[in-house]
Amino acid sequence: MAEKTILVIDDDIDLVEIIRVTLENNGYRVIDAQTGERGLAMAKEQNPDLILLDVMMGKVDEGFQVAYQLRSDEVTADTPILMLTAVTDQTGFDFDPARDKDFLPVNEFLEKPVSPRDLVDMVRKHLPTNV
């Protein structure tokens, strides 16, 4: 069986490369996009098995908007989305995954700085490797 594909959408190219090393070493294929727009296009085209999405790229709520659009597209409606957040992000509201997951279209939140262990654990939870 082919290895699972993970789409990383984040405008921090260095972080994307760090995540790529971790995930590839754990048997996943990684594709990436630096903008929300490009990420949406790639998700539609390549139908990844999981999406890692940065909460804030160009605009304050770009990550959330991308997440809503992914959920409303039938290709990616059921794809697990892990959202990367940073401690100081000024999103204009405090979200709490425990409280807010009912109305936020993502499966998990991962707080930056992401430790490789946590990242792999979280990805495995939603996407067991078939090795």
């Binding site: 760090i18 995540i19 070493n25 940073a86 100081t88 700085p113 430790s115 490789p116 262990r117």
Partner: protein, 467 residues
């Protein structure tokens, strides 16, 4: 060392051209009311004792009537003071003027019934002009001065020319119809009144200029303070991503090949991660410290304070156990609830408990007590740790300040924990106290209102009131 944050220095009111605020003017008015009671009672007493008791030849009816009118008027002033709070400085100032005009009229009537130019009480006009020069500005002061001059001159001339009856008082010589004396008194009166008004106006206009200068400087300082906070927020935001990414990078390298590294190299990388974690903690704290404008009505929720404290303490119990500390919690029964911003209160409790654990002595005790005092709630966090010296107690709430004892005890603090606690307590309308002895421990006492509210200074610093 007390940090009473409910009563910061009251900002000067740049919107008002007045020297005093409505509330502080009201305090002075109350004082004038007391003086007026004294004057009215004094007049009535003297008239009753001298005129009625000793049968002295004075105008009893007219004087009694004047005293009674003064009593009635003052009752109206006092009742108004009770019924209506002082809000608008313009209204209060108008009221002072009306009262002063009435007082001058009554003083003239009183003098008329008690000898006119013969009565040394004419000095009371000068007192009024001096008070006017302290309260009013330029032209208004001279309006009062000219009114005093007009009233007294009219009364004296009226008596001299026989237009008004003269009521001689037995203690003075009969001089009301002697031209040289009358002229000399009137001339001196004019001179003293106008000179008082002039001197008062000059001194007070200087004071007003100083006040305007202070208001302008205070406004500049507030702007600078806002700019500084904005700058901190910007820097925090900009520095966050590089630090996060660097930490993830080093952790990834350690995770992938840490096991096979030469121990000294791995140690170097582990040290790097630990310092990056410290930087992340500083960034998080700075973000908390520079976040503004969260205290809005829609953010307030009812919080079970007992449950919040229990959760915060449980969260750190493991750390306390590891350090061999006894963690003691005393909560009120029934549970106490707050209407407040939950995350801010959580941070206050967490930071204080964390400090109490981190800076404790081995095998020491941390005691957390919550006391319901009715309108307020008191949170007491006590440790048996390193303590804070008296000189440093004033500084531990400053940003990035870490006491000598704290630095010795732990390398990785951010120096922002207590600054955040202070800021949050302040924003929630509370106070924080610190009692500490070096070597014995520290006690932090936070008092929070049951319902958090915006205070005046907060509004100002968040830019909602602009000069």
């Amino acid at each position: 060392m007390r940090h009473d944050l409910r009563n910061p220095i009251e900002p000067l009111d740049p919107g008002s051209s007045q020297f005093v605020s409505a509330a502080s003017l009201r305090v002075r008015l109350d004082w004038f009311n007391k003086l007026r009671w004294g004057a009215a009672v004094g007049v009535l007493a003297v008239v009753l004792v001298a005129g009625v008791g000793l049968k002295a030849p004075i105008e009893v009816r007219g004087l009694l009537l004047t005293g009674v009118v003064l009593l009635l008027l003052n009752t109206v002033y006092v009742v108004r003071g009770w019924r209506f709070p002082a809000v608008d400085i313009a209204i209060e100032m108008r009221l002072v003027k009306v009262q002063m005009v009435c007082d001058l009229l009554l003083l003239t009537v009183l003098l008329h019934f008690s000898g006119g130019v013969e009565n040394p009480l004419l000095f009371l006009y000068i007192l009024h002009v001096i008070i006017a020069s302290l309260l009013f500005k330029g032209r208004e002061i001279f309006q009062i001065a000219w009114l005093a001059i007009f009233l007294f001159t009219a009364e004296v001339s009226g008596e001299y020319f026989g237009l008004l009856p003269h009521h001689h008082i037995p203690t003075a010589s009969e001089v009301a119809h002697e031209l040289p004396f009358t002229l000399m008194t009137l001339a001196s009166f004019w001179l003293v009144i106008l000179f008082s008004a002039y001197v008062g106006a000059r001194i007070m206009s200087h004071n007003r200029a100083i006040k305007d200068e202070l208001v302008a400087r205070q406004s500049d300082l507030l702007d600078e303070d806002r700019a500084k906070t904005d700058f901190f927020r910007f820097v925090t935001h900009e520095i966050k991503s590089p630090v996060n990414t660097a930490q993830s990078g080093v952790e990834t390298a350690l995770d992938l090949i840490g096991e096979s590294m030469v121990p000294s190299v791995r140690d170097v990388l582990e040290r790097a991660v630990s310092r990056l974690k410290q930087a992340t903690a500083i960034i998080r704290d700075l973000a908390e410290l520079t976040r503004g404008g969260v205290l809005k009505e829609e953010n307030l929720t009812v919080v079970d304070f007992n449950q919040l404290v229990t959760a915060a303490v449980d969260h750190q119990r493991e750390t306390a156990d590891r350090a061999g500390l006894k963690l003691n919690v005393v909560l009120p029964d029934p549970a106490v609830s707050l209407t407040t911003i939950r995350p801010m209160v959580e941070t206050i409790v967490a930071n204080l408990v964390n400090n109490a654990i981190r800076y404790n002595r081995e095998g020491g005790r941390v005691s957390v007590r919550l006391v319901d005092t009715g309108k307020l709630v008191r949170l007491v966090v006590e440790d048996e740790g390193v303590g804070i010296s008296a000189e440093e107690q004033t500084q531990v709430f400053d940003e990035f300040y870490r006491s000598a004892e704290a630095r010795e005890k732990s390398d990785l603090g951010t120096g922002l924990g207590l600054a955040i606690v202070k800021k949050f307590v302040e924003e929630l309308g509370g106070t924080i106290d610190l009692e500490s002895d070096v070597g014995k421990g520290s006690t932090f006492i936070v008092v929070l209102p049951r319902k958090s509210r915006k205070n005046r200074r907060m509004k100002r610093s968040s830019g909602e009131i602009r000069p």
